[in-house]
Amino acid sequence: MESGEQPTTPPRKRVPRALHLGEDPDPRFTLANERTFLAWIRTSLALLAGGIAVEAFTHEIFDDTARKVLGTLLLILGGLLAASAAGRWLRVEAAMRQKRSLPIPIWIPLIALICAVAAITVLVAIWVTNGF
């Protein structure tokens, strides 16, 4: 075991092992990591709200199937984003405790791509429905 992985604080019960390996980081970094997690959760909630809104408010733009599929995609993406935010929070916390480099957020380019595709889809749907 590397020296950075030695537990230096009393292990807390019922939390992942990664959270009691290494040394406690600066409390400001721990709180910043929590705030970043919460920002991702709010993004996830925004996607959930978008999925709900697509189903509730787009009757004049999409037919039933398209509306449900788009709403479902947004809800699933929101759920996946929340789960991935928790995974990232844990990886960052473990990296800070063991003084390793922070992990690269692999979701960001994917989310940007999905948002761009969704925006273009809605734009095209509005043009097709109402004309240019």
Binding site: V15, R35, L48, I52, T72, L75, A86
Partner: protein, 90 residues
């Protein structure tokens, strides 16, 4: 502030979900109740959280709040899952 904002966003999702009631029916109240419960728990735990965090900064040691992160994630995933089920069950 971050937890408070997240609680408010959760409340907005819950209230928006009620808009599904005419087309989806009573099943929509499952995710609504989960979201309102989550938002309520966040607000109720705010005083304890800020006390712990303020003391932690003063003492240069804050334990990471694993269970708050865990339950927040479970709540968001449950809202998404029950929302999808409610949408297709209608």
């Amino acid at each position: 502030m971050s937890w408070g904002r997240t609680g408010l966003a959760t409340s907005v999702v819950a209230l928006l979900l009620i808009r599904w009631y005419p087309s989806v029916g009573g099943i929509v109240f499952v995710p609504v109740i989960i979201a309102l419960l989550g938002a309520g728990l966040i607000q109720v735990s705010q005083r304890r959280r800020y006390t712990v965090q303020a003391a932690g900064i003063a003492n240069e040691n804050v334990a990471s709040d694993f269970w708050a992160v865990f339950w927040m994630t479970v709540m968001a995933v449950l809202i998404a899952t029950t929302g999808v089920i409610a949408m297709w069950a209608a």
